[in-house]
Amino acid sequence: MTASPAPVLLHLIALALLAAFPWVGGEFYVDLALTLMILALFALSLDLLVGYTGLVSFGHAAFFGLAGYVLAMITPETEPVSLWAALAACLAASAAAALVIGWFSVRTSGIYFIMITLAFAQMLYYFLSESPAFGGSDGLFVNFRPVAAVGDWLLFDLDDPMVFYYFVLATLLAGYALLTTILRAPFGQVLQGIRINEGRTRALGFPTPRYKLVSFVIAGTLAGLAGFLEAVHTGYVSPGHLSWHESGIVLMVVILGGRGTLYGPVLGAFTFGLLRNGLQDVTEHWILFMGLFIVALVLFLPGGIAGLIRRAPKGGSQ
């Protein structure tokens, strides 16, 4: 639960790499890195549930996609919207949705939790894909990136790809730092208690359903933040963003990277993304190799990629 020196060093190296990347990466790879940072943030948010609270959600894309839809709906056709207003609206929407879905879902556990989160996400998916007002199955455009202005003064320009890159990086860092802080705080300690042994935690006097709900809302809101960034990035949202495929992919990323660590999902996002990208370049049968890779990983590397790192320096944090 506390960082030992080796991970701290690794974190700094990773941060330096990401910060320096736009200067050496080339336009496409910079854009890819951006996409993967957003995926990493999305995966981090799910890891709060899967890895730290012991709740496996199979509907997490609902919050990711919903935030994008809110951005698309509030962005006027002909002018940009304020970044602050957009952020507030998108995060509030995902938080509210997470509160409602979570309120129902945290009463169940295990596989039933998986299925009930799936059920709610599917309902939202169908609602959006069947409502012409929300663009139907074709989705919606976000015509303008939000403007980060204070009064008339433009703070920074998200249309500038470099600025946007660092904006995403900063958001990812902020999310990472927020989760680190929360997990070290009493709240996070209770969550981990719930994951390891919910019955015992309840017996110690913590009303665990309430903690699970709050965790669900935080995770949903962070997923919304990632979805907001994705919508700003691509300028396009579709019901596909809420589909169970996307929920499945982000769950895979978390498991692949190593749940229960914060660096795991980030590594998972980059591994998954680069592997997918690389395999698509190399072979027509990339899906086959992706599948073989995943199967091999489960068999030979339990605990995901983070398991490798944890195994290397003995006596890590957990």
Binding site: P22, W23, V24, G25, G26, E27, F28, Y29, V30, D31, L32, T35, E77, T78, P80, Y126, S129, E130, P132, G136, S137, D138, G139, F141, N143, F144, R145, D159, D160, P161, M162, H233, T234, G235, Y236, S238, G240, H241, S243, H245, E246, N277, Q280, E284, W286, I287
Partner: protein
């Protein structure tokens, strides 16, 4: 769809900014025939589904396009062709990443794709307003692509959803039907096609007594077939595609409805699927811009060549791929092989005025909104093939409502 062309400057500013960011490694260097002695390949990026439900469409389009270019000597403007294909997975969320890979990393000269309308819109968001590449849509029919979302460098070689079924209304009215039930999947293409198909029908005084919408991509139709049986309309106008179309047509016939309530629809309902549908498809009338049975020398040669090259029957998607190839040839011929950024306006101009006389579907030309103006045929399944009864609508042009191209 709304008009978003005025919104484009913002996007373009971003993209221009991207190119201008000095630190970004790519130099923007574009090899042209003049630069490297005519040997630098023309890069054709392909973003089509090669996995999942739509994989066969992706393959047919690719085959058709490559065949057309092979027939023209295997070169574009005298330069060899490098195809860079990516599996779109028919997934809109993945589309921006895939598109950027082709556009930014591979610096393709032309971008061909996709099948899925959602993917097309996501691609358009990346491509629109750029000088390069020129995007040619070989299938996706979303009306918006050549209406509100139309763009200078985006062309469609296939159809708008509206076109495929607009003549249906007249056909049904001509057959003497007064009432119709529409039935399709509850998604954008279904809604657009049904709206087009009933437009004329209503003008002729027909009534739509129910719009049945099946959750996409569900193929459980039984409850709705019972509804239709109870409603007893004069006709049913339906649109499904692929496996869903096979199943729908079979279920419709098996429910005993085929003989009492005739079935109409856009040609996708039966095109290339009659083998799987068998006798259930007999008698269904559809409208489409193509039919395998089209008896023209061009089409006969096309079918024969395709069969020879790929050991498979060509379908409408192969035709759309073939015509995409024709457009690529015309574009590059206009600049004599130059694909540099400066050459773009000339290519766009050529494509905007393109006429495709040697299409298997019959001659067609490009509209101002970059969508084919073409004949729509009335077809009926007879003896397991879509037989052409005649032209349902000659030189049909999509209304292109809301398309404003800054030329």
């Amino acid at each position: 769809m709304t008009d978003t062309t005025r919104a484009r400057p913002s996007r373009r500013r971003f993209l221009a900014g991207a190119a201008a960011t000095g630190a970004i490694a790519s130099t923007g260097f574009v090899p042209t025939r003049f630069a490297i002695g005519g040997q630098a390949p023309v890069k054709v990026g392909i973003l089509l589904p090669y996995s999942g439900t739509y994989a066969s469409l992706g393959e047919a389009i690719t085959n058709g396009m490559k065949m057309r270019i092979e027939q023209a000597g295997g070169t574009l403007g005298g330069r060899p062709v490098e195809y860079i294909a990516i599996d779109s997975e028919a997934s809109p969320p993945q589309a921006p990443r895939h598109t950027k890979k082709l556009v930014i990393k591979d610096q393709v000269d032309f971008l061909v794709g996709p099948v899925h309308s959602g993917v097309a819109l996501a691609m358009a968001q990346v491509v629109a307003g750029r000088d390069k590449p020129i995007m040619i849509i070989p299938n996706a029919g979303a009306n918006a692509l050549t209406r509100g979302q139309c763009a200078r460098n985006i062309f469609r070689a296939s159809f708008s959803n509206w076109q495929t079924c607009y003549p249906c209304g007249q056909v049904m009215a001509d057959d003497g039907h007064k009432t119709v039930v529409t039935m399709t999947w509850k998604y954008a293409a279904g809604n657009e096609i049904m709206a087009a198909g009933t437009e004329l029908f209503k003008e002729f005084g027909g009534a739509v007594i129910k719009d049945i919408r099946v959750p996409f991509p569900d193929v459980e139709f039984q409850a709705h077939l019972s509804e239709i049986a109870a409603l007893k309309p004069d006709a049913v106008l339906a649109f499904f595609s692929g496996g869903g179309a096979i199943k729908f047509v079979k279920d419709y016939a098996a429910a005993g409805l085929k003989d009492s309530i005739p079935l109409y629809g856009p040609g996708f309902l039966t095109e290339g699927l009659t083998e799987g549908q068998g006798a259930a498809a007999e008698g269904i009338k559809t409208t489409l811009h193509y039919a395998r049975t089209l008896d023209t020398p061009v089409n006969r040669m096309f079918l024969e060549a395709y069969k020879k090259a790929y050991n498979k029957e060509a379908d409408v998607f192969a035709v759309q791929g073939f015509d995409t190839g024709s457009l690529l040839l015309q574009a590059i011929d206009a600049t004599e092989g130059d694909t540099g950024a400066d050459a773009s306006p000339a290519m766009i101009e050529a494509l905007s005025a393109a006429e495709v006389p040697d299409s298997p579907r019959g001659p067609w030309r490009m509209s101002e909104a970059h969508n084919p103006i073409m004949d729509i045929y009335l077809r009926q399944v007879e003896g397991g093939v879509n037989k052409i009864l005649g032209v349902a609508s000659r030189d049909l042009e999509d209304p292109a409502t809301g398309c404003k191209l800054d030329t």
